[in-house]
C-alpha cells in the first residue's frame, strides 16, 4: 500500500508557514547553507542522481536540463521559474506559493548557485494577486536576512530575484512563450532548437523550471539523492502533489510518491461523492487524454500512464462522476484552447476554432455522426503540427473521449440534445433543499 509523504506540505498547518521565522523553525534554509559549501557542479550531479523530473508536466530530467548550459558561453546565465500555473485542473503551485513561498525561494537560491547564475526571475500568472504578495514578501524577507542579494551568507555568491506578474495568457506557461513575455513581447512560442539552455532569456543561456521542481531541490540537497529515489519508481523517482478535484468527497492536495494509483488516492480522499460512481478523469490536466474506471489501478508515474495511453502531466486529477456529460466537458475544454491559442500556428488557431463549432452543434443535438470523423480529422491535422504543445493538448480530450464515449456523442445526435441534467452534477446537486451549506470549509 502506498502512503502519503508530506514534504513540501509538511508544515502547511502552521499559521506562520509562509513566514521566514516559520520556515526556519522547521529547518528552512539549512539546505542553502549546505549547498553553498558545495561545488556548484556537485549540486547539479546530486539533482541528476535524484532522478528529479520536471513537475510542470513534461517530466524532463531537471538535473540534465541544468547540465545543458554551454560552459563556454560568455553571456550571463538566468534561472526562470515557471509559476504560470494555468493548465485546467492544475492547482498545486498556487497553494504551495501561498503556504510555503520560502521553499521556492530557497530552491531558487540553490539552483541559481548550481547553474552559476546571479539573476533569477519568478514568472507568476497575474490572476493570483495574493500569491504575488506572498512571494514578494518572502523574497523581501530573504533579502533582509542575507539569504538573497550580495554576498549571500558571507560566501561571495550574489543573486537577485525578481517576482514578475504575467497578464493573463495560458500560453505563457510554455517555456519559450514565457521567455518572450518576460522580454516584454506577446507570449508566443519560439521554434526549438535552439533550446533555452543555449539561447533563452535575452538569447542568453537560461534554465526554465516549474515551481514544484525548484521547491523540491532543497529537500534533495538536505536529504540526499538516495532519500529521493527511495520514493517513487525507478524511472519516476520521488514525490509530488496529486491534486484531486471535482466529484470527490475530500478534494485537495495529496503529496505522495510517484506511482500511487487513483484507487489509492480516491480511498484517501473519501471516494467519489456518495451515491455516485467514477465516469472519467484526467491524470494530469485537460491536455492529457482522459481515463475511465478501467484505469483506477494504473500507477501514476510517467511510464505507466504513458503506456496506458495518456500522460502524467501535472498530476491534476479532475474527477467526474456519472452525472457529467462528456460532450459538454470536452466542448468547454476546447473553447478554452481556442481562446488561449496564441494564433501563431495555423493548425492550432484554425483547428481549435473549428472544433468549437463542431462540438457546440454536437452538444446542442444539431450534429451528425459524421461530425465525429470530422473532429478526428481535425485532430489528425493538429497533432504535432505546431510550434508548441498547446494544439497537441487540445486533441487529447477530443480523441480520448470519442474513444471511450463514442456512444454518448451519438446519443446527443439521436436525442437531438443533451441527455444530461446538468444541475445534478453541481456541488449542491445532491442536496435535497438548502443550497448554502458549505463543503470542506475554507478557514
Amino acid at each position: 500500500m502506498t502512503t502519503l509523504t508530506p514534504i513540501l506540505s509538511e508544515h502547511w498547518d502552521r499559521p506562520d508557514s509562509f513566514t521566514l521565522d516559520g520556515y526556519r523553525a522547521t529547518g528552512g534554509y539549512a539546505a542553502l547553507r549546505k549547498a553553498l559549501a558545495m561545488e556548484p557542479d556537485a549540486i547539479v550531479d546530486a539533482v541528476k542522481q535524484s532522478g528529479l523530473r520536471g513537475r510542470g508536466g513534461a517530466g524532463f530530467p531537471t538535473g540534465m536540463k541544468w547540465g545543458f548550459l554551454p560552459p563556454d558561453n560568455p553571456n550571463p546565465r538566468y534561472l526562470v521559474v515557471n509559476a504560470d500555473e494555468s493548465e485546467p485542473g492544475t492547482c498545486k503551485d498556487i497553494p504551495l506559493m501561498l503556504a510555503n513561498p520560502h521553499a521556492l525561494v530557497e530552491g531558487v537560491a540553490i539552483a541559481s548557485y548550481a547553474i552559476k547564475s546571479s539573476q533569477a526571475f519568478i514568472y507568476v500568472r497575474g490572476e493570483v494577486v495574493h500569491v504575488i504578495r506572498r512571494l514578494r514578501r518572502a523574497v523581501a524577507e530573504a533579502y533582509d536576512a542575507g539569504l538573497l542579494g550580495t554576498n549571500i551568507l558571507g560566501t561571495g555568491f550574489d543573486l537577485d530575484v525578481v517576482v514578475h506578474a504575467g497578464a493573463g495568457a495560458y500560453i505563457c506557461g510554455e517555456e519559450t512563450a514565457l521567455l518572450d513575455s518576460l522580454e516584454g513581447y506577446r507570449g508566443q512560442p519560439r521554434l526549438k532548437p535552439p533550446f533555452p539552455a543555449v539561447a533563452g532569456l535575452y538569447a542568453s543561456p537560461t534554465v526554465v523550471n516549474n515551481v514544484e521542481s525548484i521547491a523540491s531541490v532543497p529537500s534533495i540537497v538536505a536529504n540526499g539523492a538516495e532519500w529521493f529515489t527511495s520514493m517513487g519508481t525507478e524511472k519516476s523517482a520521488g514525490f509530488g502533489f496529486f491534486s484531486l478535484s471535482g466529484h470527490v468527497s475530500n478534494p485537495g492536495q495529496y503529496e505522495a510518491p510517484l506511482g500511487v494509483t487513483l484507487r489509492e488516492l480516491l480511498d484517501m480522499a473519501g471516494g467519489v461523492r456518495p451515491g455516485h460512481r467514477l465516469k472519467f478523469w484526467t491524470p494530469g490536466g485537460s491536455s492529457t487524454p482522459i481515463f475511465t474506471d478501467e484505469h483506477l489501478d494504473t500507477p501514476l508515474d510517467f511510464e505507466s500512464v504513458g503506456a496506458a495511453g495518456s500522460m502524467l502531466g501535472t498530476r491534476a486529477l479532475q474527477i467526474f462522476d456519472e452525472t457529467t456529460c462528456v460532450v459538454r466537458a470536452v466542448g468547454r475544454w476546447i473553447a478554452f484552447y481556442a481562446h488561449e491559442s496564441c494564433g501563431k500556428c495555423t493548425p492550432c488557431r484554425e483547428g481549435n476554432f473549428w472544433m468549437v463549432q463542431v462540438l457546440d452543434r454536437l452538444e446542442n443535438g444539431q450534429g451528425t455522426e459524421e461530425d465525429l470523423d470530422k473532429l478526428l480529422d481535425i485532430c489528425d491535422n493538429l497533432l504535432g503540427r505546431s510550434f508548441c504543445a498547446l494544439g497537441d493538448g487540445a486533441t487529447s480530450p477530443v480523441t480520448s473521449s470519442i474513444k471511450y464515449f463514442r456512444q454518448e456523442y451519438i446519443d446527443h445526435v439521436e436525442k437531438g440534445g443533451c441527455p444530461f441534467d446538468h444541475s445534478r452534477a453541481t456541488l449542491w446537486g445532491d442536496r435535497p433543499t438548502s443550497t448554502t451549506t458549505e463543503r470542506g470549509g475554507n478557514q
Partner: protein, 246 residues
C-alpha cells in the same frame, strides 16, 4: 447596463496623460525598469501601472509606456491587446470573474454565472450602472479543489454557490467589507490590485490564511495515520527486490 464601446477609438480621449500624471508615474516607471537587465522587460509591469492609474489601459497609458521604453505605440498596442488582464475600456471597481472552465462549470460555475448575469442585468464583460461591478467569466484559476471558484479583483472566493455569489455582488455594490477566502483581510479595488501587479508592494502579504482545508487534506490524513516521508538517516535498503532475487 452599460454597453461598452471603445472610447479611445472615437478620438475623444486624450492622447497623453496630463503632465503632473506623467511626472508622478515616471518615478514609478524608472523603478520598474531598473529591476530588469533589459528595459523592455518592464512593459507588462508598466501596462499594469497605467491600468492602476486609470482602471484600464487607454491610448494615453500606452503612449506613456511607449515613451518610457523608447518603443512605438504600435509595439505597445500589440502587447496590450494580447493579454486578457488588460482592460481596453473602463470597468467597475470590482471585477467579478466566474470560472466556467470545465471542472468549475460542471460543479456549478455555469449556474453561478447565469444567476449573476440575471441578478445584475449585465452580460459578459459588462459593468453595472453604478460602476461597481464588472462581470465576466474566466478560465481556470488554479483552485480546482475549491470549485466552483469566483475571483474578485483576482482574489479567491472559494466554494461558491449561486446564493453566496449573489450575496457577494450585493455586498460589493453596497460598499460592505468583503474578505476573500484565501487572501488579504479585505478586498482592495481594481486599481489598487493593478498596482500590486505592476510590482509595488501594498504591505498586505502577511494577511490571511496560509492554507485552507483542501490544501491541507493530504497532510491531515497523513497526520491521522502516522504517515511520513522516509527518514533520510534510516532509509530502506536499496534494490530490495534484487537482493531478494539473489
Amino acid at each position: 447596463m452599460t454597453e461598452h464601446s471603445t472610447p479611445d477609438a472615437g478620438g475623444t480621449a486624450p492622447d497623453r496623460f496630463p503632465d503632473e500624471v506623467v511626472a508622478r508615474l515616471e518615478q514609478d516607471a524608472k523603478e520598474l525598469i531598473s529591476r530588469y537587465p533589459k528595459e523592455r522587460s518592464a512593459l507588462l509591469p508598466l501596462l499594469h501601472l497605467v491600468q492602476a492609474e486609470e482602471g484600464h489601459v487607454s491610448r494615453a497609458g500606452m503612449r506613456f509606456c511607449a515613451d518610457q521604453l523608447g518603443i512605438t505605440l504600435a509595439e505597445v498596442n500589440a502587447v496590450a491587446t494580447f493579454y486578457t488582464m488588460y482592460r481596453r475600456r473602463p470597468g467597475g471597481d470590482y471585477q467579478v470573474g466566474v470560472c466556467t472552465n470545465t471542472l468549475c462549470a460542471v460543479m456549478g460555475g455555469d449556474e453561478i454565472f447565469a444567476t449573476l448575469k440575471e441578478h445584475l442585468g449585465v452580460g459578459n464583460a459588462e459593468t453595472t450602472e453604478d460602476g461597481r461591478v464588472t462581470l465576466e467569466h474566466v478560465e481556470c484559476n488554479a483552485a480546482c479543489d475549491f470549485a466552483p471558484v469566483v475571483m474578485v479583483n483576482w482574489e479567491f472566493f472559494d466554494n461558491q454557490t449561486p446564493e453566496s455569489a449573489t450575496q457577494l455582488v450585493d455586498d460589493l455594490r453596497l460598499g460592505k467589507d468583503v474578505a476573500p477566502t484565501r487572501g488579504p483581510s479585505s478586498l482592495c479595488t481594481w486599481k489598487q490590485a493593478s498596482r500590486v501587479l505592476a510590482g509595488f508592494d501594498d504591505g498586505r502579504g502577511g494577511e490571511g490564511v496560509q492554507a485552507a482545508a483542501p490544501s491541507l487534506a493530504g497532510l491531515k490524513l497523513a497526520r491521522q495515520r502516522g504517515w511520513t516521508a522516509p527518514d533520510p538517516a534510516n532509509l530502506p535498503a536499496p534494490n530490495q527486490g534484487e537482493e531478494e532475487a539473489k
